[in-house]
Amino acid sequence: MNTVSHVIITPEETLLDGKCIFRGSITGLYREFAGDYPKFFKMDSLCRLGFMAAELLLKNIPAPIRENAAIVLFNRNGSLITDRNYQKTISDDNYFPSPALFVYTLANIVTGEIAIRNKIYGESSFYILDEYNAAQIEDISASVFITSSPSLLLTGWVDYNDETDYLADMKLVTDKETDLR
């Protein structure tokens, strides 16, 4: 696989292709590099994190190429933070389940949010691993090209535990050297 672009977002900093481009919160990152998508504020934290990583990676990719991209993401916690929040809304003494929250109790919603924003009609898949395992992520990502031919693959790790503990380590890759202009 050929890496086109690589982004790392942590509570400390955001690195794009190895260069620090931002320090601050995910919302701060949104205001600096997106800002035009109010739906961002409806998303849970996992989706906001994955969404911003995708914004940074895809901003220079033309729409016709984006359309056939694949999104294959991984994490450890799934949607556990939102699961716990939803669980609090269904206790006996305080029962008010909300569809707007329930939908985010699925980790793969982040792939859907990225697809909607970027009009990506390719594959969207989400995998849960016990821990960050670069070799396993690489194996599964590379295997996408065995049964399909996406123009681009947006792949990597997107895990959110709390505001001091999160990591997006996502890449845009192609099967081989490709002209993406």
Binding site: D83, V103, A115
Partner: protein
């Protein structure tokens, strides 16, 4: 060639694939109204497993009981049956476990917000570990399309050459968490669901576990009944439209069908097994996708009227049931269907039909805008009397 060499279904309709297929053939359903279940304020209609039966079965059959949850017991029981039916050495290095679930042990959050098994990979390691398998299991969590995604993930890993066998398990158990969420969406039908029907009002949820054992086959002789299910094609496309509503143009499902038709022989397709949840929007979306793919006349069916929507198990058990149907030469009836209720025709039927074709397509759609599909083809193969799998052949 990738082939499915063994399978199992555990559901309220039976504890083996054969029992389940027989129940479907007899038109049975275990969809029932449940009141005061999980302490929910509202009744719901679902197909629920007998928890004591599963617990007793596990106590009788399990090699060890290391504090397994209901979800883990079901996965282990289902995989045990499939593994033993093909004598697979599941601990072997060339075997990978792939697990499909939407929510795994989420029911445990009600009693312990920090229960480690709520992390799906922790639970998956326990399941693979039960069989002595030390490869890191793969968990696909793609909402309702997980069961097909797990098969696709397994097939890719086998084609990649690192593993020869994949034990693909799909399972979800119902809980206050899951039922309340679907109730909040107003997605549930108060009575047994009616896929594709004019009077459909929503879906029912169901519980099941299913296992498929896939092999990257280099052999020329095979066990079993003289037929083999060969993987033919797969596809996965997002609607890029809405996180909880199906696309009004059926975009993702249409693209999935188009990809699969490009890699299969249209004249050999017996039927498309649809998602058919019986929500107004899902079934309408599938009718549009079929129409756009030129498949309005191809026989179609759905299993939700028997089982309800079994979430992470759906893609696995509905694939297995489709295989058994073709082996029996039938296109199963769509239980609950009566009269056309979608903009474009879906060639569903309230009674079973005969077929002499060998290929089927299974498609699913789900939250997150995901759509996935897979096709298998039946092949006649020479029989052999003795065999061993995993490790030494």
């Amino acid at each position: 060639m990738i082939a499915c060499i063994a399978d199992n279904i555990i559901s309220p309709m039976g504890l083996t694939t054969e029992e389940n297929f027989s129940s479907v053939s007899n038109g049975m359903s275990m969809l029932r109204i449940h009141e005061d279940t999980f302490g929910l304020p509202e009744a719901f209609c679902a197909s629920m497993l007998d928890r004591k039966l599963i617990s007793d079965l596990f106590a009788d059959h399990a090699l060890s009981d290391n504090g397994y949850s209901l979800f883990e017991k079901l996965c282990i029981l289902s995989a045990t049956d499939a593994i033993s039916s093909c004598a697979l050495q599941a601990e072997s290095e060339d075997v990978i476990f792939v697990i499909s679930t939407t929510k795994g042990n989420v029911d445990m959050l009600g009693t312990d917000a920090d229960y480690p098994g709520c992390r799906l990979a922790v639970s998956a390691e326990k399941i693979a570990g039960y069989f002595g398998n030390t490869n890191t299991p793969v968990v696909t969590s793609n909402a309702c399309v997980s069961g097909v995604c797990a098969q696709i993930a397994a097939i890719r890993l086998l084609l990649g050459g690192k593993y020869r066998y994949a034990v693909v398990i799909g399972c979800d158990v119902l809980s206050r968490f899951i039922i309340s969420g679907f109730q909040s969406f107003k997605a549930l039908s108060p009575e047994p669901c009616r896929p594709f029907d004019i009077d459909r009002t929503g879906l029912n949820l169901g519980e099941a576990a299913g296992t498929m054992i896939l092999e990257n086959i280099g052999r020329t002789e095979f066990p079993g009944n003289g037929c083999l299910w060969e993987f033919a094609a797969c596809s996965n496309h997002n609607d890029a439209n809405h996180i909880s509503g199906p696309s009004r143009t059926g975009e993702g499902a249409f693209r999935v069908l188009k990809d699969i038709l490009g890699k299969t022989d249209r004249d050999d397709i017996a039927f498309v097994n649809l998602h058919g949840t019986a929500t107004p929007y899902n079934d309408e979306m599938e009718s549009i996708a079929l129409h756009r793919a030129g498949l309005e006349d191809l026989p179609a069916n759905g299993f939700k009227g028997y089982y309800g929507h079994t979430l992470g198990a759906a893609g696995i058990i509905e694939t297995i049931l489709s295989m058994k149907a073709i082996e029996a030469g039938i296109i199963p009836a769509t239980k609950g269907y009566g009269a056309k209720g979608t903009s474009y025709s879906i060639s569903a039927s309230a009674s079973s039909r005969v077929t002499d074709k060998n290929t089927f397509i299974k498609i699913l759609s789900g939250f997150g805008g995901s759509n996935a599909g897979i096709a298998y083809r039946r092949r006649d193969v020479p029989l052999c009397a003795t065999f061993r799998k995993g490790g030494e052949a």
